[in-house]
């Protein structure tokens, strides 16, 4: 990765795709200029980033993992139709007197690829596939929501200066100081009681929307601070001055001049937010405010399975492994993304 250690914008036009060429530029004394016969291609920073990303093997592997996960999650109803099993179907007759799945390795077999849940007798594979769907949806939607709020607030704060900046900063501090879990514990059940009578069950979508809203409300602050910092460093640059001199309005400067220059760190934040939300969503199940039965959910599945780690380790293994791979893949992809978008950050 040594070829990525110099920002492309600071050197003369060159072809970073070809290692030889890069070496040539970095050590001009050793290589005669006559060898630089190749055509010089002009590339935008985005194209450069994409090229770097393509060459990163970690990024490739994690993207494949994530693509498979997304595909499986999207195809969940199809899988249910193919196997003929609904995720809530209970195969109680395949459990023994203690409620443990009969057979080897937690009841793994042709009918039940990953075995059965002890106690309930539900198919682990279908629970997992549908749970993945819920978890990924919550994580992506929350990350998107947090970023939209964060970017909007951050740009305004960074560009505004004066009292508005102070006010927004104060608000960010307050939000950061607010205990997330306690807020979630207090608000989710109350809102549910507010919108549903005692004889109505809250629809699964409502609970999921509440979780997404809570995540969004608490996680925009990091993006907002990052964006504000970036905007402050950019707003005095010549191209902003030029735009202002040319009579551009504030909106134009904010969203046409500044935003395109800071989308790289935003993308990285999103990619790092998603795994965090997957993990926190799983943690919500531990305090009884996660996704409720009977909607399948990865986090709740892990919570329920932890007690069985000694007696039916397979039940713990599959959801645990899934969430581990997901979070790891997202984190690695996020790192790779940051490296390729901002080569200065590599060690």
């Amino acid at each position: 990765m040594s070829d990525m250690s110099h920002p492309p914008s600071l050197s003369t036009p060159r072809d970073p795709d070809v290692v030889d060429a890069a070496v040539a530029v970095n050590s001009p004394a050793d290589v005669p200029p006559s060898r630089q016969r190749r055509e010089i291609v002009g590339r935008s920073p985005n194209q450069l980033a994409w090229l770097r990303l393509k060459r990163d093997r970690t990024a490739l592997v994690s993207s494949v993992v994530l693509a498979v996960a997304a595909l499986v999650a999207l195809a969940a109803p199809l899988i249910a139709r193919l196997t003929g099993i609904d995720p809530t179907d209970k195969f109680v007759d395949r459990l023994n007197d203690f409620g443990m799945p009969v057979g080897y390795a937690g009841g793994i077999g042709g009918d039940h690829l990953l075995g059965l849940e002890p106690g309930s007798g539900r198919d682990i594979f279908l629970q997992l596939v549908h749970g993945l769907r819920t978890s990924l949806f919550i994580a992506f939607a929350s990350a998107l929501l947090a970023s939209v709020i964060g970017v909007g607030v951050g740009i305004v704060a960074g560009y505004a200066r004066g009292w508005l900046d102070s006010l927004i900063n104060w608000f960010v501090d307050v939000t950061l100081a607010f205990p997330f879990l306690i807020f979630a514990l207090a608000v989710i059940p109350i809102l549910e009681d507010r919108f549903y009578t005692e004889r109505e069950a809250a629809s699964p979508g409502f609970r999921i929307a509440l979780i997404i809203a809570t995540f969004g409300l608490f996680s925009w602050t990091y993006t907002a601070r990052l964006v504000r910092g970036q905007v402050i460093s950019l707003r005095e640059r010549e191209f902003v001055e030029a735009a202002r001199a040319a009579g551009a309005g504030t909106g134009h400067i904010l969203f046409r001049q500044l935003l395109p220059n800071i989308w790289a760190p935003i993308l990285v934040t999103v990619s790092l937010n998603v795994p965090q939300f997957i993990a926190v969503e799983a943690a919500l199940a531990f305090v009884n405010i996660g996704v409720t039965e009977p909607t399948p959910d990865l986090g709740r599945m892990i919570y329920n399975s932890i007690g069985y780690v000694a007696s039916d380790p397979w039940y713990t293994l599959f959801p645990g492994l899934t969430i581990f791979l997901l979070v790891l893949a997202f984190n690695l992809l996020g790192d790779a993304l940051r490296d390729s978008l901002d080569p200065r950050s590599t060690r």
Binding site: D97, F98, G99, V102, P294, A310, P313
Partner: protein, 582 residues
């Protein structure tokens, strides 16, 4: 920290996969063939041999050692006036002695004999209205002073106090029938009489109860902790919970709420006066605040420090498969308890008898049980009373297969699809159980709405008369092994109040109430059969519940605890004649 924990979890998982991953799980979880249901005779013994102290020695038992009891939560009350829960009653039995007590030896024989009293009570006029108890000679408190009948009367008197209202109220209600038990008399505090009307103490060793109506169950009621003696001079009112004045084999050494309770020997307890307790251990130590899985894992592991330990907490389902191998299996104490769990149908809302019958055909009792641990948690039920009740005989009104009878349900519902709200406690096990029910009933043709309720207020919520729910699971155990503490509190419509109901199906049928009155007036010997017949009549004609399962206890103890058996009177490991192997 986070990194460390995660590594550790992975390591544990890997080991577990190697250890337990490739063995085949067979159909019976272990001991599946053992399906005996004990039938309780619940006999009251006036035999001199049964009522004489000291208690029979246990073969191979040794004196000494300390028993550790690991518990999830602290006892709510140890004050005899407020003591109602089985674990508290067994612990209370180590500290103080009631008039009567249950004599058990592990063979399934349960005898009610005199504890403080020389026999289980004399029915003076033969009409169950006047009961006389004579106290044993030589029973002393921990300070060496003698126990008198006035202290017993005072103990019952203070149980009328509004601030000490958590205990059972049978004797109180019988002394003041009609209305609230303590409407007329509010205990000896604030200028009240030291003893309620109807209790007289002709001399220091005699106490006499005079009831306006006949109560042939008095010997059983006198076995509740209410009749334990409390000397007026030692009464600390609501602080008495923390340090009951000992009349039994042990006294409180230290008590730190929610952490630990330690008992040491009461040197003034004389084994010759006690037909129930051998009191082999030198001390007891109760530790609170442990997770049930943690307790079970420690007892399975049987490390040297935990070998003299036991627990009254049922082994959670996740740990059950690890209790079937040789060394652990012999340290399991299991058996039926006096609790029956039913799916209550709110009869105020579900008035259509056909729907209630359809529910009885629909419920998959196998799924309901397996969700909470299968046969270790209980066995499928068809009756209202548990098999441990006196006079029990099995009947099945509906004769549905264990996983439900779809054709019968469809016939009874006749094309309708009733919408029912199923309330459940929000702890993991009960949620799983409710989800099993939801899936099962939805498949059978009902529309089920699940409503989770915070666990600590579950019985408060469903105990409100106008609660908005249709179905909810609940368990009830008798206070003594006859139907008189099951059918009347659960199915007598006249006892329905605004809040705190036990009649959770809110069944209010005059025919049932009249039958209850009729059976209560029967001679004691005929009552058992009467309650059983009423049990079947309710299920046949009113169908207020779906009987789900007879509860079972499944407890573990360490390898150094001896003479371990399930107390039939309390449904948990007994404490009176247990010993520590030296």
């Amino acid at each position: 920290m986070r990194g460390r924990t995660r590594t550790l979890t992975c390591g544990v998982l890997a080991v577990a996969l190697v250890a337990g991953g490739c063995t085949r799980t067979t159909d019976s979880g272990g001991g599946g063939e053992e399906k005996k249901t004990k039938t309780q005779t619940g006999s009251i013994s006036y035999e001199a041999a049964d009522n004489r102290g000291p208690a029979a020695a246990v073969d191979g038992a040794t004196r000494g050692g300390t028993v550790t009891v690991m518990q999830v939560s602290d006892f709510e009350h140890l004050d005899p006036a407020r003591n109602y829960v089985n674990v508290q009653q067994v612990t209370g039995g180590l500290l103080y002695r009631a008039l009567n007590g249950y004599k058990e030896n592990g063979s399934g024989q349960l005898l009610l004999v005199g504890d403080l009293a020389t026999n289980p009570g004399k029915d003076v006029d033969g009409d169950c209205k006047v009961w006389e108890f004579t106290l044993r000679d030589g029973v002393k408190y921990e300070d060496g002073s003698p126990v008198t009948s006035r202290d017993v009367a005072y103990g019952i008197g203070r149980s009328f106090a509004p601030s000490l209202n958590e205990g059972p109220h049978y004797i109180q209600q019988w002394l003041y029938p009609g209305g609230v038990y303590n409407a007329a008399y509010k205990g000896p505090y604030d200028g009240g009489k030291p003893a309620p009307d109807g209790i007289t103490t002709p001399d220091d060793r005699t106490i006499r109860f005079t009831f306006p109506q006949p109560h042939c169950d008095m010997p059983y009621a006198a076995a509740l902790p209410t009749s334990a003696p409390v000397p007026a001079g030692k009464d600390t009112r609501d602080q008495y919970d923390l340090r009951p004045f000992s009349s039994g084999p042990y006294k409180v050494k230290s008590y730190q709420r929610d952490v630990a309770l330690e008992l040491e020997r009461n040197p003034n307890w004389d084994p010759k006066t006690d037909p129930l307790r051998t009191a082999y251990p030198d001390g007891w130590r109760f530790t609170f605040g442990l997770e049930s899985a943690q307790i079970a894992e420690r007892l399975v592991a049987d490390a040297p420090a935990d070998q003299a330990s036991m627990s009254w907490v049922d082994v959670p389902p996740a740990v059950l498969p690890r209790t079937t191998s040789g060394g652990v299996a012999e340290r399991v104490v299991k058996g039926p308890t006096q609790y029956t769990w039913v799916l209550n149908i709110n009869t105020q809302r579900v008035t259509d008898l056909n729907i209630r019958k359809a529910l009885n055909y629909a419920v998959d009792k196998d799924a309901v049980l397996k969700a909470i641990g299968g046969q270790a948690a209980g066995s499928p039920a068809t009756t209202l009373m548990s098999p441990t009740t006196a006079g029990f005989h099995q009947y099945d009104v509906f004769n549905a297969p264990i996983s439900g009878d779809r054709a019968k349900v469809a016939e009874l519902l006749a094309g309708k699809r009733p919408k029912l709200v199923l309330a459940h406690s929000n702890i993991e096990l009960r949620t799983q159980q409710a989800e099993a029910l939801r899936k099962n009933l939805t498949d059978m043709g009902f529309d089920i709405v699940m409503k989770p309720i915070e666990n600590s207020s579950y019985y408060d919520e469903i105990g409100r008369k106008n609660n908005p729910y249709d179905l909810y699971i609940g368990g009830w155990g008798s206070d003594w092994p006859t139907g008189s503490t099951i059918i009347p509190p659960l199915y007598d419509g006249r006892e329905i109040v605004a809040e705190g109901n036990n009649n959770l199906s809110y069944l209010n049928e005059s025919a049932v109430s009249a039958e209850i009155d009729r059976i209560r007036k029967l001679p004691a010997a005929e009552q058992d059969a009467g309650w059983m017949a009423l049990d079947e009549k309710i299920m046949r004609e009113s169908v207020p519940v779906v009987p789900c399962y007879y509860d079972a206890a499944y407890e573990l103890h360490g390898s150094k605890i001896g003479n371990t058996f399930l107390s039939d009177a309390y449904g948990i490991l007994q404490a009176n004649t247990i010993y520590v192997k030296q």
